[in-house]
């Protein structure tokens, strides 16, 4: 049990923090220094009275010495290691997180920030290559520079250039230099605009998710028939692509709220045990509507935590609501075994699956998913598909053989997985493909 093994590390950390000698602590709890040394190096298990005595001497809560590390934080640390090669001691990530939670959080936060910045760099590279306005601006600058260079070269290189030609090329240089100044100014203005729009290192999708998360996914202004979408978007303070995405997401929220009025839906959810199939039947609405609506029920109102994920046909996650024990990686290549992707392979057929994440204490989740077409139906045009998945941590009835899933291959320790895309850096560093 890894978290038990780490209890010793935490005891040692506490003792060193307080500047206590090993022999002094050992004497205080009635054991030999060598036995305490074995405990501190995780070579002896510890519990019961001795654990409480040590906690008392060290001024710590016994539960703080034994509790496991946040699995989400561990996943993020492993993902950070995966992104930057295999030089980090991945097998000791849990130990680092237990001893230095602040530094561990910083590693995870920096890895997330780097992922977002990398995505932004890629966006800018794409923009340089394909943006027609930018291409036109650059063409204007380069054309002016070419003309100036060529005319100037004639003026300094031609010995027998009469006065008319000299005047003509001087005029050309003057005209092109003014044109170069104007086009350069326009180019700089164009390149500077997006930086002003979004100064933070988050993607537009994350900005939208942060908006909903800050409100616990419950927006009263969108629960009424006469909802003012413009006001909601303006109040959010988002600009550019994030504002556009928020409008799209808010429109869906409002449509769902009109189909499933909040009070009636809350009452029915309680009465029907949050069963999405029964709720869809009761209200005669689509399964995906019920899944999205359940995710808006607040823990503050006594409802269980429910996570949500939405993806398009490419598997790209377009919305994520995290809950303890559940997250999907947007950047590290998500595990394809999650029911949200299985649903995409059987459109219109709801999926119910219990899944389990690897870890010292395996996390079990209940998932409901469905994939459906979205947007206008058109002749001879394939429909755009969207898959929606609701996730309930700690389901009330535990099944015996939940489906093993992971966060992403690079940090997944499972062996023998037929869906593995690349080796894992966990454990022995390389799992056979």
């Amino acid at each position: 049990m890894p978290h038990r093994r780490l209890t010793g590390s935490r005891i040692r950390e506490k003792r060193l923090d307080q500047g206590l000698r090993q022999s002094a602590v050992a004497e205080a709890v009635g054991i030999s220094p060598s036995y305490l040394n074995l405990i501190e190096h995780n070579r002896r298990r510890i519990a019961g009275k001795l654990l409480h005595d040590l906690a008392r001497v060290l001024g710590a809560d016994p539960s703080h010495l034994t509790e496991g590390v946040d699995s989400e934080l561990l996943d993020q640390m492993r993902a950070a290691a995966a992104a930057f090669g295999e030089t980090a001691e991945v097998a000791r990530a849990e130990e680092v997180a237990a001893r230095f939670p602040g530094w561990a959080g910083l590693i995870a936060a920096q890895a997330r920030r780097l992922s977002v910045l990398e995505e932004r760099v890629q966006t800018l590279v794409d923009r340089m290559a394909y943006d027609p306005q930018l291409a036109s601006s650059l063409h204007e600058v380069i054309s002016a520079v070419t003309a100036i260079r060529s005319s100037a070269s004639i003026l300094v290189g031609q010995e027998e250039l009469d006065a008319d030609w000299q005047r003509r090329f001087h005029e050309n240089i003057h005209t092109d230099s003014r044109r170069l100044a104007d086009s350069s100014e326009a180019l700089i203005a164009y390149l500077e605009a997006p930086q002003a729009e979004s100064a933070t290192a988050t993607s537009p999708m994350e900005d939208v998710e942060a908006y909903f998360e800050a409100r616990d996914i419950h927006i009263p202004a969108l629960e009424v028939a006469e909802a003012d979408l413009d006001a909601v978007v303006a109040e959010a303070g988002l600009v550019g692509p994030a504002a556009t995405l928020l409008r799209i997401t808010a429109t869906t929220y409002h449509r769902d709220a009109m189909a499933l009025p909040r009070q009636a839906f809350e009452d029915a959810s309680l009465a029907l045990g949050y069963d999405p199939v029964a709720l869809a039947a009761k209200f005669s609405v689509g399964f995906d509507v019920v899944l999205r609506r359940l995710a808006t029920l607040s823990r503050g109102d006594g409802h269980p935590p429910m996570g949500l994920a939405v993806c398009d046909a490419s598997g790209t996650l377009t919305f994520l609501k995290h809950v303890p024990g559940f997250t999907l990686s947007r950047f590290a290549g998500v595990c394809p075994l999650w029911p949200i992707f299985r649903a995409m392979g059987q459109p219109m057929r709801p999926v119910r699956a219990d899944v389990v994440l690897p870890g010292a204490v395996p996390t079990q989740l209940r998932c409901f998913a469905v994939a459906q077409p979205v947007g206008q139906v058109q002749f001879d045009v394939p429909p755009a598909m969207q898959s929606t998945m609701l996730v309930l941590p700690d389901p009330p009835d535990v099944v015996r053989d939940p489906l093993p899933v992971g966060v992403s291959c690079r940090i997944c320790p499972r062996s023998g997985c037929s869906s593995r895309r690349e080796p894992s850096i966990d454990g022995d560093m390389l799992q056979a493909l």
Partner: protein, 122 residues
């Protein structure tokens, strides 16, 4: 009279500069600024060399090059392309279409003169 160069380019001051230096070298230079009617000009004035800009009003230089190579009367005329976009994919496309030389702006007058001379003598 020297061999004939057709310069298809829409930047007036580039046209003037290139025309000037090539004329001084003894070539007979004709110019054309519109992509849409460029092929008509090529057929009406079959040149010994075409200098062809990529970004032209009406039609791209790549489309014009494709037509030049497809036409029996013009298929063997050497073509030198000028572009402000030095991307590999543009260079590859021009190569596949049969360009003889691909020159990225801003070029020097010496480069233009040397490559024109080389293509004319080839």
């Amino acid at each position: 009279m020297g061999k004939r160069v057709l310069l298809i380019e829409d930047e007036p001051n580039i046209i003037e500069a290139i025309s000037f230096i090539l004329s001084r070298d003894g070539w007979t230079v004709h110019t054309h600024e519109d992509g849409e009617t460029a092929m008509d000009k090529v057929l009406a004035f079959p040149p010994d060399l075409i200098i062809l800009d990529v970004m032209l009003p009406g039609r791209s230089g790549f489309d014009i090059l494709r037509d030049v190579r497809a036409h029996a009367q013009t298929g063997r005329i050497p073509v030198m392309m000028l572009t402000a976009r030095g991307q590999d994919k543009d260079r590859e496309l021009a190569g596949r279409l049969g360009v003889n030389h691909f020159m990225t702006k801003p070029f020097s007058n010496t480069e233009v003169r040397d490559h024109v001379r080389h293509l004319m003598e080839a």
